[in-house]
Amino acid sequence: MARHIVARTSEIPPGGNKVVDVAGRDIVVFHVNGEFFALLNRCPHEGAPLEKAACVARLTSPEPGVYERSRVGEMLRCPWHGWEFDMRNGQSWFDPKRFKIRSYPVAVERGDELQKGPYVAETFPVHVEDSYVIVEV
């Protein structure tokens, strides 16, 4: 898998996302609680753009009248039919065996730690001290 520098960390605010075209694929990178997640920008159900998804908490109820919120902001709620997916691995919440969004490994690295090469030399020559989001596709 090739590594692609897709953004500066500062470009994607907490709770926000950025859509990037990597090797012809429409990929959306989310920033949640200091972590970054990259997923194919398409719901497996009817193809809705996940960049418009709501980032919600997982809401569970161990018994009637008791509600627990966890993993705040880490669940994706599709902008059309409300299907929920785990942002970490793309698995659907209600039927994890059958439905899944394609997800990609993400890393955050400091510019001055990145391998010297065309990205740093050509694209970000004066910002090598910044941190960058890297998606593996």
Binding site: K52, P79, W80, G82
Partner: protein, 370 residues
């Protein structure tokens, strides 16, 4: 059997490598603001709208809907970048929906102001008239793909007839829309003058789910949850189908065409089986019916596809479609609402090219005469 399924394809409908353009029977335009209606609404009713607003048959405060699943029940990606609410910006609707999905015709279904359910019938009629004019001025005249419907509230029958006649004269409207939740079941005689006029004018009757009839939305009472209430769209339409058929509307108006919109179609087989079975047993109660209920259903009624049922096994959806009838189904997207169906992915079962052509285009073209 129906005239539609037996109708031979015209030359211009044959596959012959022509692309399949979509007829979308359920597109929701919205007012940017009620001020949009001012040019169509007498000052007297503008003032009423400002000072009193709607008077509906809802029994409790705040039983009107939003948000339901998402703000304004809309797709989260359907908010126009120019501001305003989903469905209120024609340019954005063209860019997001009509152009990319290759919509040849889109039938407008207005839900704003709950206009079917206004208890003040004069106010309701004024709003209906304004909305009917607004559909042309803001939508159909700006994009000829978009087709307007004559919206009338059937509880003021004389007002409804006057409005139908006023609009029909223009030749610009393609159906007459009435409420699925009137004061009484839709088969009752008090509503027959509307059906009679629809037949005379050869305009289909469109019945879009939703609205407030003052009755609990389910036969079991008021539900606690939206997900529970959402089921009631199908129940309501099933009840209205039974009412229309059994009270004799298609028997009395043999050329009337009725389109149920946004009720789905998965419930139809069992509802119709049951009607037929009971008809055989209790025929003496309803001697005005000359034929089995299923025969009336197959000749007079059409059903839009959204929200489409998604059984675990594709063959079950296939069986449903075959039973209801390829010729009975009209594609609809429900744009821009949250339960929108994308025509490219909504049918999770194989369809032949000829079947796709019927469901996505030619059935609607036959019903609405495009």
């Amino acid at each position: 059997m129906s005239e539609v399924i037996d109708r031979p394809l015209r030359d211009d409908e044959k596959p012959a490598a022509s692309r399949l353009r979509i007829v979308d029977c359920d597109v929701h335009p919205s007012l940017r603001s009620t001020d949009d209606l001012n040019e169509f609404l007498p000052k007297r009713w503008q003032q009423h709208l400002r000072e009193y607003g709607s008077h509906l048959r809802t029994p409790y405060l705040f039983t009107t809907p939003y948000p339901r699943s998402s703000p304004l029940i809309a797709r989260r990606d359907a908010w126009p970048p120019t501001g305003g609410v989903p469905g209120s910006d024609l340019a954005f609707m063209q860019k997001q929906h009509l152009d990319p999905l290759d919509v040849e015709f889109g039938i407008l279904q207005v839900l704003d102001l709950f206009i079917f359910s206004q208890q003040n019938l004069e106010f309701g009629a004024a709003i209906q008239r304004a909305i009917n004019d607004w559909q042309l001025a803001f939508w159909s005249h700006r994009d000829p793909r978009l087709k307007a419907s004559i919206l009338v509230g059937q509880d003021g029958v004389d007002l409804a007839i006057a409005e139908i006649d006023r609009c029909a004269k223009t030749g610009e409207y393609i159906q007459i829309n009435v409420s699925p939740r009137a004061n009484e079941p839709l088969g009752r005689r008090r509503y027959w003058p509307i059906y009679e006029r629809a037949q005379e004018l050869d305009l289909p009757l469109g019945i879009h789910v939703g609205g407030y009839g003052g009755h609990a939305p389910t036969g079991g009472g008021w539900p606690s949850y939206y997900v529970e209430e959402h089921q009631s769209n199908a129940h309501t339409i099933a009840a209205q189908l039974a009412s229309l058929v059994i009270e004799g509307v298609p028997e009395r108006f043999p050329k009337l065409k009725i389109v149920f919109i946004e009720g789905g179609f998965g419930w139809i087989p069992s509802a119709v089986w049951r009607m037929d079975q009971h008809f055989e047993r209790f025929r003496s109660e309803v001697p005005h019916l000359k034929r089995k209920p299923s025969e009336y259903v197959r000749e007079h009624f059409w059903f839009t596809t959204q929200p489409i049922d998604e059984p675990d096994e594709a063959r079950h959806l296939r069986s449903l479609i075959e039973w209801v009838g390829i010729d009975r189904l009209l594609f609809s997207s429900d744009y821009p609402h949250w339960d929108f169906d994308d025509p490219r992915f909504a049918f999770k079962t194989p369809l032949t090219e000829a079947e796709r052509r019927k469901i996505f285009s030619t059935n609607a073209r036959a019903v609405y005469k495009f």
